[in-house]
């Protein structure tokens, strides 16, 4: 007990298996977001830093949810946003905020995919490049990612609470 108290005084970082699990979870989630960003910027064997937005906009538009202007804006921004989220998750910076944003983003993705399935749209997911068809597998994958993101977020909040309790 005393050891825990001493180590938490020195280091506010979580110790033991909850902390390790949190690190594994956030790094895994971060890497997946980096892959998602990478797949939108690099496909067909080359980088598409100047024209990626056209292809991604077409994928977003196939969901038939947003006006064209919003589709174009989202296509421009989302890959970079995913990149930043991935970096922050891996680095463990602002984990409670980043985890909440990541969970919210995944919830939006799952909502859009579910809606497309209900409407019977035969479209590509657009999640990891252009060639992946939207189906049950993509929904299960994103739902699993949401569970992971929620676990990371809740874990970050619990650890913060524990740190505050230990320091007080």
């Amino acid at each position: 007990m005393a050891t825990t108290a001493i180590s938490s005084e020195v280091s506010p970082r979580p110790a033991g298996w909850p902390g390790t699990l949190l690190i594994i979870g956030r790094v895994a989630l971060g890497v997946i977001f980096l892959i998602a960003a990478y797949a939108k910027l690099h496909f067909a064997g080359e980088w598409h830093l100047r024209d990626y937005q056209f292809f991604f906009a077409m994928a977003i538009d196939s969901y038939k949810m947003l006006p064209i202007s919003a589709v174009q804006l989202m296509a421009q921004v989302l890959p970079w946003f995913e990149l930043v989220l991935g970096i922050f998750l891996i680095a463990g910076i602002g984990l409670r905020v980043i985890g909440t944003i990541t969970s919210g983003l995944l919830l939006v993705f799952i909502g859009a995919m579910t809606r497309a399935k209900i409407l019977g749209l035969e479209i590509n997911c657009g999640c990891f490049g252009n060639n992946e068809k939207l189906g049950a597998a993509t929904l299960i994958r994103d739902s699993s990612l949401l569970v992971l993101a929620l676990a990371v977020t809740i874990g970050a909040f619990l650890i913060k609470k524990r740190r505050e309790r230990l320091s007080s």
Partner: protein
């Protein structure tokens, strides 16, 4: 170790992670599909050659569409996008459209429609037949009475020529459709419409299922500015 001395370790670990992730995914990917055959193939092919094309072959952009005349998404793409592309880009000589037959098994009359389009193509009437097939898809796709419906949209003598040619060249027409399908399969086409854009010597696949005209227009304008 306090938090200040730990920060460099954290940064180094993070950078190493980024480098590993980028290296792992910087593997060579599948090569893009070859440029459309219509622009490169020798003209010395045996007649008939079924030119299912619209526009000038020397246009800076080529749009290849793997389509199925019975597919509702193909009709939507044709009505909402291709017609505007023809008006705004094909007629001014900026885009060349190539149709590739990709009749899906789930559509029982798609192959029959494709055969008629191929026959019309032989008389330089591919665009007119494509328009008629998509414009009136609802009229023929329920019962498969394609000839009966299409005959009302062409002069009788001209339509008779299409039918006669189709009957006399059934094997060649089927071979032409099979060739397009094989090309699609080779390019991993798994839905219709699937669109490939070739410009500046590079071919890119667009997301399957059709594309909004405004988005395609912005992409064409970008390619034409290059």
């Amino acid at each position: 170790m306090n938090s200040l001395t730990r920060r460099p370790i954290r940064v180094v670990t993070f950078l190493a992670f980024c480098a590993m992730a980028m290296t792992a995914f910087a593997r060579p990917q599948a090569k893009p599909p070859a440029a459309p055959a219509a622009k490169t193939a020798s003209a010395a092919t045996a007649a008939p050659n079924f030119q299912k094309t619209i526009g000038n072959p020397s246009a800076p952009i080529t749009m290849e569409v793997f389509g199925d005349f019975e597919c509702p998404a193909c009709r939507g793409f044709f009505e909402g996008t291709v017609k505007q592309v023809i008006d705004d880009y094909v007629i001014p000589g900026k885009v060349y459209i190539i149709h590739r037959d990709f009749p899906l098994e789930m559509h029982p009359y798609a192959r029959q429609a494709a055969r008629l389009a191929n026959a019309a193509a032989e008389f330089g009437q591919f665009e007119a037949m494509e328009r008629a097939l998509y414009d009136h898809q609802d009229e023929w796709s329920a019962k498969g009475n394609i000839d009966q419906v299409m005959a009302t949209y062409f002069p009788p003598a001209e339509f008779k020529k299409f039918q006669t040619f189709e009957a006399q060249h059934m094997a060649e027409i089927n071979a032409s459709i099979a060739k397009d399908q094989a090309m699609g399969t080779q390019r991993n086409v798994n839905q219709t419409p699937t669109v490939y854009i070739t410009a500046h010597g590079k071919t890119e696949a667009l997301p399957g299922g059709g594309v909004d005209y405004k988005l395609l227009k912005s992409y064409f304008d970008y390619l034409l500015r290059q």
